[in-house]
Symmetry: C2
Subunit: 127 residues, 2 copies
């Protein structure tokens, strides 16, 4: 396995590369979605973010697009990164979410029908 040198960057770098604001990054950190180390030289209090932070933020965005809240994403990540959990758990979690989204689609179509009926009722009333 290739040894990867861990590279740490300050928040400004992450901002440039991840496309989110610094407040968002600090917010994610407060929520436990990402981690930083305090700076090596202790003359300042700047955060140090590892490279993976970028992928992690990309993942958060994906999760949100997929309809996950931060709490759900956290739960999922915890399951996945827990060595004792097997993949199955995360898979089930995700499948549940997909089912949920599919249900929402069914609801949307049903809603369409309701709307059509309403529209018809309205035009009858008017004529």
């Amino acid at each position: 396995m290739v040894l990867k040198k861990a590279i740490f960057v300050r928040i400004g770098e992450v901002v440039k590369k991840a496309g989110v604001g610094p407040d968002t990054i600090r917010f994610y950190e407060r929520q436990g979605l990402i981690q930083s180390l305090p700076s090596k030289d202790k003359t300042n209090t700047y955060r140090n973010y590892p490279e993976e932070t970028l992928q992690r933020i990309a993942m958060i965005k994906q999760a949100q697009h997929a309809g996950f809240s931060i709490a759900e994403f956290s739960a999922l990540i915890e399951t996945i990164e827990n060595p004792s959990a097997d993949f199955f758990d995360a898979d089930i979690f995700l499948q549940k979410k997909i089912d949920e989204i599919e249900e929402r689609m069914r609801h949307a179509r049903k809603f369409l029908k309701t709307l059509r009926a309403t529209k018809n009722a309205l035009s009858l009333t008017r004529s």
Copy 2:
């Protein structure tokens, strides 16, 4: 056409039949999703809700399940109840929402792949 006698009920009746709390009903009214008339005998200030309020609240619930916000629902209803708009407009609106939901599903599946990759990377790191 059959003449329907308009029946008006007080908020408590709506609460019992619609399955939402009185605060929610008043909230919907403030948002313009439902309407009431002030009471006929003007010795009190009680709201009077027409029968259709029940269907309307059911519709709001459906809309929410389908992923509509109150603002979106309002816009949709306005379009539908506007006599000059033809049905097409509402249909387009709704289709856009369905597309949105479908996109969210695609995102969820993509997210699943990302998670699998992450999981694999993690187990490699550990072994």
